[in-house]
């Protein structure tokens, strides 16, 4: 195992790590006490800004900057929404934090609410995390009893309530405005922007949406300081004045065909290969990797040759992936069919597309129809071009959708076919020797029953 001393995961594995007493014994809530005693909300925002902390939920937006978008001197209420809808395939770091160190999460929420002057925080947690829900609720109850939550926290004028809000199995609720719509009791159709949530969010009031790991980083920055945070990771690109860098520790989820899947904390910028070999114990069964997902399935694919890509906010993008995403690495070994992989990916996004924007609703379903047909041995070479056309045209980046779900659906298609085209062509020619060159529209397979 490598030398990096875990910080975010420091308490994980201790007996009763989820209990308040254990958390406090390890120095928990000291940062909160210090900040409430010594810092103004504005100073805390400045602190987080200068740390260059970037959101851990997927997009990597600078957290301090997001907070500073809130209108000044707003009469309130201002809402904090904590995004614990962690649904990106391959991602489970937030679950571990919530299950085994809920107080680190809560301390981060309290600090973030103090900075943003939010007095109500809704923690939107996916229904598939029952243990996280129970542990968080117990921790929140402990906090109310200990005076960390409720009216006049620790004797100051700052008051805060945290409410858990359970989802109901919909990936799109991880999109911040989808989350807000779902919280408000409607179908989770993401909202058009502007207005951004900082101006008009939950219940039409200014709102910040932050990820679980992000608020844990806030806790650690408040406890250990900006210098500590910036001593870890990858500095900003001096040639790009707009690059905030990739500072701090990061929780990397490692799964798929590795010997030791798990959640590992490492400095941002560790390469994918280091993660697999040094943390994950290498590819399983003595095989070689064919590819790896760099940060959740929506980020696309790294080939074996690209595994030395550093997993910071800029690395995956340089080799044609969408980005770092959730930093969830899924390893695919060399016996796996990329046809199966892409089918799995298309099925996921067709199932999870919220159905609001035409290109995503129809595009993801059409891609799945083609992948089902290809998998069933009725593929055509032309399908690969059609799939690429869908991949290249749907998403917030070309501007054809409201939210980024479609970009996430597009990237696995684009990367899989562009980086592994030979394998797809071979599969199609082998399984459909008579029809692989057909270019006219063909009959669809019977629609599979889905619930």
């Amino acid at each position: 195992m490598p030398k990096f001393e875990p910080v975010l995961l420091a308490n994980i594995g201790k007996p009763n790590s989820h209990a308040l007493a254990v958390y406090e014994a390890a120095g928990g809530y000291r940062a909160l006490k210090k900040v409430l005693a010594e810092m103004t909300p504005l100073a805390l925002i400045e602190m987080i800004k200068s740390s260059n902390l970037r959101g851990r939920g997927g997009a990597g937006f600078p957290t301090g900057l997001k907070w500073s978008f809130l209108p000044k001197d707003h009469p309130g209420p201002i809402y904090m929404c904590i995004n614990a809808d962690e649904s990106e395939p391959g991602t489970f770091n937030n679950r571990i934090l919530m299950e085994d160190d809920p107080h680190q999460v809560i301390e981060g929420i309290i600090l973030s609410c103090y900075a943003t002057r939010a007095q109500t925080a809704y923690l939107y947690i996916r229904y598939e995390y029952p243990l996280s829900y129970q542990r968080l609720q117990a921790a929140i109850d402990e906090c109310y009893a200990a005076g960390y939550l409720g009216k006049k926290i620790l004797g100051t004028d700052f008051s805060l309530d945290i409410y858990l809000h359970r989802g109901a199995a919909a990936y799109i609720c991880g999109e911040e405005t989808g989350l807000i719509e779902s919280l408000e009791g409607r179908r989770a159709w993401p909202r058009i922007k502007p207005p951004f949530p900082a101006v008009e969010g939950a219940f039409r009031k200014p709102t910040v949406v932050n990820n679980i790991e992000t608020v844990c980083c806030v806790t650690q920055i408040a406890a250990r300081g900006v210098e500590w945070f910036k001593s870890i990771g990858v500095p900003s690109d001096p040639k790009n004045p707009r690059d905030p860098g990739s500072y701090g520790p990061k929780l990397y989820c490692l799964s798929g065909h590795v010997n030791q899947p798990g959640c590992y904390e490492a400095p941002l910028g560790i390469t994918c290969r280091q993660l697999i070999d040094e943390y994950g114990g290498g590819v399983w069964k003595g095989r070689k990797a064919k590819a790896a997902i760099p940060g959740g399935i929506s980020m696309g694919l790294l080939t074996e040759a690209e595994l030395d890509t550093p997993l910071d906010f800029n690395g995956p993008g340089r080799v044609g992936c969408l980005g770092l995403g959730t930093a969830a690495v899924v390893v695919i070994d060399d016996t796996t069919s990329m046809v199966d992989f892409l089918h799995n990916s298309c099925r996921f996004f067709a199932h999870e597309s919220c159905g609001q924007c035409t290109p995503c609703r129809e595009g993801t379903a059409w891609a799945l129809t083609m992948m089902e047909r290809i998998k069933a041995g009725k593929g055509r070479l032309r399908d690969l071009d059609l799939l690429l056309e869908i991949g290249d045209s749907i998403g917030i980046m070309p501007g054809t959708t409201i939210c980024g779900l479609a970009d996430g659906a597009a990237w696995p298609i684009k990367n899989a076919i562009r980086k592994f085209r030979g394998e797809f062509e071979q599969y199609i020619q082998k399984t459909n020797p008579k029809g692989y060159q057909v270019t006219e529209a063909v009959e669809a397979l019977p629609i599979l029953a889905a619930h």
């Binding site: 919220c354 159905g355 035409t358 609703r361 993801t364 129809t369 045209s393 501007g399 529209a441």
Partner: protein
């Protein structure tokens, strides 16, 4: 003055004017295709058909910077120096993509779809689509599901623009319609046992850009390309919604709201929309008849009018009852005729039907309790001739006093409008002329029965509850035997040639101050008589 550049063409915005890309482009004569955007509903920007390129022009250097990605024109505000490009290859490709996407699941059953001919999906396919299908073909269905009494849904034709759902939430307020399921399994639905049954329900059919929502009243009645549209006014209540009367070969098939920001915006109520069928009722009066010894004799129009004219002149004191269903022009002519035979003739407003209370919906649209189009116009004419308000009671009293000996009662009511007792009192004259659509207690007692015209057959102007005057032209010819009121009065007044409503209105505008603004041309949205008069007064006093 703010300038917006659309495809290289500059258009100006008025100070404070807030337009989106679609509206700014419209001003430049560019039609941006769209499904989900509607000016009367919230913006959702979800169909993605209106994607365009946008950027800004540097006011000083004139240099244009474009955004790299496409944006929905509906969601993009047109500000000073905003640039829109709507015809680039990129834009055309994205339109073709959306059309292709929407057609993947669409049944393409245009030959049996009512919407064919006025369908956005169909029109845009020809304008922006690609000629070959590339998606897999699967057996198509077009499941039909009832939404309520008035509206039916062809489920698979839907493009999920959500206009209808937003309408029931934002305009009518009942929230009956909703989207069910997720992704491409989505459908429009109603909750079991809670059908779409508000009084504005028919509007969702107008809003539907494709053939998904069908109007049961119109379903399979007529191909839209056979019908001609005539700008009209709904005469169902005193709101006076602007409408299009759509007919083919003198049969009205449907009424549609005609956009009028001053009156009804984009909407109309079901009462008005479906209330036109009486126009073609086989109970319509079509014979001119004279009651003689309890027998009815059918007369020629010209003979009847000669006889009536003689008897009115002989009667001395006469009365004219001006129905609130008459146009301004007709009411004026009838009053003038009465005054010609008797300079003291009573000129009164006929019964004003009132049913229930005004009903106002979430967005402010109001169905009025007053079920006629022109009480205000007729009132002002009565005021002009009488110097006071006068009603049917004045006529009954005058008859009872033995003064009035002949009366002309105009009708035009589609429902029962007079009771036996009132009819009995009015009938106590020597000569009673009743001009109406249907049988009534009064008609039973009439000396002369004249078949009258229905709203779709008339030319002329109506003044609604808010003193807005709207002029309309006839849409269909009346049934054989019926003559339109204006023509009848023109003949009695020996006016030369055909009676032209506009010429009559010119005279009304000259003679009656209230109508003076109508000396100017009346546009398709009508004119506000009150505001104009107030403005004129302010100009004089100021």
């Amino acid at each position: 003055m703010a300038i917006v550049i659309v495809d290289g063409k500059e258009v100006e915005l008025a100070p404070g004017e807030r337009l989106n890309g679609i509206q700014a482009a419209e001003r430049a004569g560019v039609d941006i295709p769209r499904y989900c955007w509607h000016p009367g509903l919230s913006v959702v920007a979800s169909c993605r058909m209106c994607l365009v390129e946008t950027g800004t022009r540097n006011a000083e250097t004139g240099a244009i910077t474009m955004l790299p990605k496409l944006v929905p024109a509906c969601q993009t505000p047109a500000a000073d120096n905003t640039v829109f490009v709507t015809d680039s290859e990129k834009v055309q490709r994205s339109r073709a993509m959306v059309e292709e996407d929407l057609l993947i699941d669409h049944p393409i059953d245009c030959p049996i779809c009512d919407k064919a001919g006025e369908c956005y999906l169909q029109d845009y396919h020809f304008q922006h689509g690609q000629d070959k299908r590339r998606a897999d073909i699967r057996p198509f269905t077009s499941r039909r599901r009832e939404m309520g009494e008035t509206v039916t849904l062809f489920v698979d034709r839907c493009v999920m623009c959500s206009r209808c759902v937003r309408f029931t939430r934002e305009i009518s307020g009942g929230s009956e319609l909703y989207v069910t399921n997720r992704g491409n399994r989505e459908e429009i639905d109603v909750f079991p046992g809670r059908p779409l049954d508000n009084k504005l329900s028919g509007n969702v059919v107008d809003l539907c850009p494709v053939g998904a929502l069908g109007d049961k009243d119109f379903l399979y009645q007529q191909r839209v390309w056979f019908m001609k549209k005539h700008a009209g006014v709904c005469t169902g209540c005193s709101t006076g919604c602007s409408i299009d009367v759509e007919e083919n070969l003198d049969t009205v098939y449907r009424l549609k709201p005609r956009t009028n920001p001053h009156v009804n915006q984009w909407w109309m109520c079901d009462e008005g929309r479906y209330g036109f069928h009486y126009v073609h009722s086989d109970r319509r009066l079509t014979n001119v008849e004279r009651l003689e010894d309890d027998k009815r004799l059918i007369l020629e129009w010209s003979q009847a009018l000669r006889e009536i004219d003689e008897r009115f002149r002989d009667a001395g004191r006469v009365a004219a009852v001006l129905s609130p269903h008459l146009t301004v022009e007709e009411a004026y002519l009838l009053a003038r005729y009465a005054r010609r035979v008797d300079s003291q003739a009573l000129v009164v407003l006929g019964p004003v039907p009132v049913v229930g209370d005004d009903e106002t919906f979430k967005n402010g649209f109001t169905i009025r309790a007053e079920k006629c189009p022109n009480r205000r116009g007729v009132e002002e004419i009565v005021q002009h001739f009488m110097g006071r308000a006068a009603t049917l009671d004045d006529v009954s009293a005058s008859i009872e006093a033995g003064e009035t000996r002949a009366a002309w009662v105009s009708g035009g009511y589609k429902d029962a409008w007079i009771d036996e007792a009132t009819a009995g009192r009015l009938a106590a004259v020597e000569c009673l002329v009743v001009q109406d659509l249907f049988d009534s207690p009064l008609l039973e007692r009439a000396t002369y029965r004249l078949p009258g015209a229905a709203f779709a057959e008339r030319d002329g102007s109506y003044v609604n509850h808010a003193d807005r005057l709207q002029s309309v032209a006839w849409a269909v010819r009346p049934p054989a035997g019926v003559r339109v009121e204006a023509g009848v009065y023109g003949e009695l007044l020996a006016m030369p040639g055909l009676v032209k409503a506009r010429r009559v209105l010119d005279e009304v505008a000259r003679e009656i101050a209230f109508f003076s603004p109508a000396a100017d041309p009346v546009g398709p949205l009508g004119m506000d008589l009150k505001a104009r008069v107030m403005a004129a007064e302010a100009a004089i006093t100021g």
